[in-house]
Symmetry: C2
Subunit: 151 residues, 2 copies
Amino acid sequence: MTAWTLPQPMQRALELAAASADSGEVPVGAVITRNGEIIAEAHNAPRETCDPTAHAEILAIRKAAEALGQERLGECELWVTLEPCAMCAGAIVHARLAKVYYGAGDPKGGAVEHGARVFEQKQCLHRPEVYAGIGEARAAEMLREFFKARR
Amino acid sequence: MTAWTLPQPMQRALELAAASADSGEVPVGAVITRNGEIIAEAHNAPRETCDPTAHAEILAIRKAAEALGQERLGECELWVTLEPCAMCAGAIVHARLAKVYYGAGDPKGGAVEHGARVFEQKQCLHRPEVYAGIGEARAAEMLREFFKARR
């Protein structure tokens, strides 16, 4: 019998999302890999860092660029538990990330398959390969629990 | 006879854009004001900082949030020489900036009056007042000169 498991980077992104919730931040985690290895990771932290741009993806992209000493991440892949918003989708384009794997879709704030659909714009300079729904159930459950507890 | 001058924050943003070009970065400058006073300013710096997210607007928003000790900038205004891209427009939404004044429109990379039109999306949580074209001629001229010199 085969046990189906999530790709390791998405497992790690989900752990980071859980850590995000524990510190009172909306539970979103992100990981950047290169040649299968994690080179940067972060969770959502706008409150902790007092920085409205501190989404998990932005923090991970900044760390990866710093780690590699280059502003473009063309050989890298992003794993994030939630569909990126317009800000993060724009950052993915600027960073030239090759692939984006995300967990839950986000009809309210997402800008990949919803709303601004940043990668689908004619003017979009770089379109990553996008794979949605990986680890979706757990990612969405964490978000539901987080917002339910705060209502 | 009246001498018409640009609002001081946009004059400062244009100076920052010129400094950007001098350091080899695409010439874009941004300033954030609160009650008419400049509380943060930055120029475009992705190369210098090795950070693909280091657009003038993102850097200015991060500095303003740090200066005020709060992640929301509802009482603040952003002055930027170029139409914000999707990343920066998304950050403006997250920061809840009240007003955005920009210089030149950007048919290739802009996401306010072009492309993703972030603030016009139904799902957009916060829509700043937007005023375009302030200092447009000088902002556009600097960009033309910059790219012409690099061709």
